[in-house]
């Protein structure tokens, strides 16, 4: 005689109907932490918005460094969501620290739809944007009183948000780009399209191709700072790029002059 356990036979069953659920005393936060550490090789991730502002602060430091003696720069920045970032750039221009406040989601994916929320504004932008069509929202930065712009583009599978605001004493700059799933980098194609269509296109039309200074990087691949309309570019130290940010983040330190007026609201 052969015996087979019913409970073993049930290994082949999948319940898609009852989902018998009860309270569990297990701490899910610990499980999540454990799992994420395992799959990500225990990398510590900086929040995207924090990284964005690190890049902005770093850009400021390098831009200033080109015309003035190296000096410690510190200050406080805010973005459209009301998040506050404290930054500090040390004398060597490399060591940046930044702390992010409450980071709000401006563009979120909800039931397959892309929802843009800022202040009283709530707009379903799913059908208003794609990789070639940006949605541009103008707002006034509460700190500087200067006009700022949020540019949205992409698709529910991969979307992009760019937030330009004024950086005291430096000029217009700022950048954010995230995708629909993890808030990190979108693919280069989407990012390039959204940024290029809404910004670079008009700039290049007006000013021609941007050429980096000697020792710099091609503007489309790495680091460039536009300060007060004067194009400056500089190399990025390797330790910086590795530790602080991804190459995509360095891709768009842009002057407001690059915004295509025809696209502005």
């Amino acid at each position: 005689m052969t015996e087979i356990k019913i409970s073993q036979l049930m290994d082949n069953y999948t319940d898609n109907e009852f989902f018998i659920d009860e309270e569990s005393e297990v701490n899910m936060d610990k499980i999540k932490e454990n799992v994420i550490e395992n799959v990500s090789g225990k990398k510590t991730k900086i929040k995207p918005a924090a990284k964005i502002m690190i890049a902005v602060a770093a850009a400021a430091a390098l831009a200033v460094g080109a015309t003035a003696a190296a000096a410690v720069i510190s200050g406080q920045l805010s973005d459209a969501s009301g998040s506050i970032y404290n930054y500090e750039v040390h004398e060597d221009g490399y060591n940046i620290s930044a702390t992010a406040g409450n980071q709000a989601d401006i563009l979120t994916l909800e039931d397959g739809r892309l929802i843009f929320r800022l202040g009283d504004n709530t707009t379903d932008v799913t059908d208003l944007i794609d990789n070639q069509t940006p949605y541009i929202y103008a707002y006034t930065n509460a700190d500087t009183g200067r006009k700022s712009y949020i540019v949205l583009g992409g698709t529910p599978e991969e979307y992009c948000m760019v937030d330009f605001s004024y950086l005291d004493g430096i000029g217009w700059s700022g950048y954010g780009c995230m995708d629909s799933i993890d808030g990190n980098a979108v693919s280069a194609d989407v990012e390039e399209d959204v940024v290029r269509i809404s910004f670079r296109k008009s700039y290049v039309r007006e000013n021609g191709e941007v050429h980096p200074v000697e020792g710099g990087w091609p503007y489309h691949s790495h680091f460039i700072v536009f300060s007060d309309g004067q194009v400056t570019s500089t190399d990025v130290p390797d330790n910086w790029r590795d530790e602080c940010m991804d190459a995509w983040l360095l891709n768009a330190m842009l002057s407001v002059d690059m915004i295509d007026p025809a696209l502005l609201p």
Binding site: M1, Y13, F19, I20, V35, I36, D111, I181
Partner: protein, 187 residues
């Protein structure tokens, strides 16, 4: 965010999608495991993490349809396998089908065929018996717990379980297997 969004994110290798998967289904997965392991919290934590690590490893094959059921089955099987490896058993009611000598056991059947067979057999049960059967043999609830959840007396639940076992065996028999006689009197 839909299950489809999460699965797409996983397939792209996004760890944030894995976090969202855990946020959405972690409690369910740990609940399934915890019930079977009967409060062994450390093991429950470890196996719950194993379920999601396995999902990550196999994310290319993942499908958004029935995602919760898939996770539940993975959790349930990991917990039962843990007990089996430790030679422990849940006190399940008549947890055995007996085949006569000379008959091939179901284990010899291709896994996919066995899955179809078992699904057909379980889905052939009348609804309340099916839920009772699954609560007991799939989720590991005691007969008393399952009976209580369904508002049945203990003896009625045992009778229904016995009928469920008979139906399962009948399906297996139709597929060419034999089995021993069983007494369905209440015990």
């Amino acid at each position: 965010m839909t299950d489809g969004d999460i699965v797409n994110g996983l397939k792209k290798g996004k760890t944030k999608a894995l976090e969202q998967l855990i946020d959405r289904y972690g409690a369910y997965v740990s609940s399934v495991i915890s019930r079977i392991l009967r409060g062994r919290n450390e093991d429950c934590r470890e196996l719950s993490a194993d379920v999601f690590l396995a999902v990550w490893e196999n994310r290319e094959k993942l499908r958004a349809e029935n995602l919760k059921g898939y996770l539940g089955a993975a959790a349930r099987n990991k917990a039962f396998n843990k007990l089996r490896n430790e030679r422990e058993e849940l006190p399940l009611e008549e947890d055995m089908i007996i085949f006569d000598e000379g008959e091939q056991p179901c284990e010899a059947v291709e896994r996919k065929e066995t899955a179809l067979l078992v699904n057909r057999a379980v889905n052939g049960l009348e609804p309340i018996t099916k839920e009772l059967f699954l609560r007991h043999y799939y989720y590991g609830q005691s007969v008393a717990e399952a009976a209580d959840a369904l508002g049945l007396s203990l003896s009625a639940a045992k009778t229904r379980l016995c009928r469920g076992r008979q139906t399962l065996k009948e399906i297996l028999l139709k597929e060419g297997y034999d089995y021993g006689e069983q007494n369905c009197e209440n015990k």
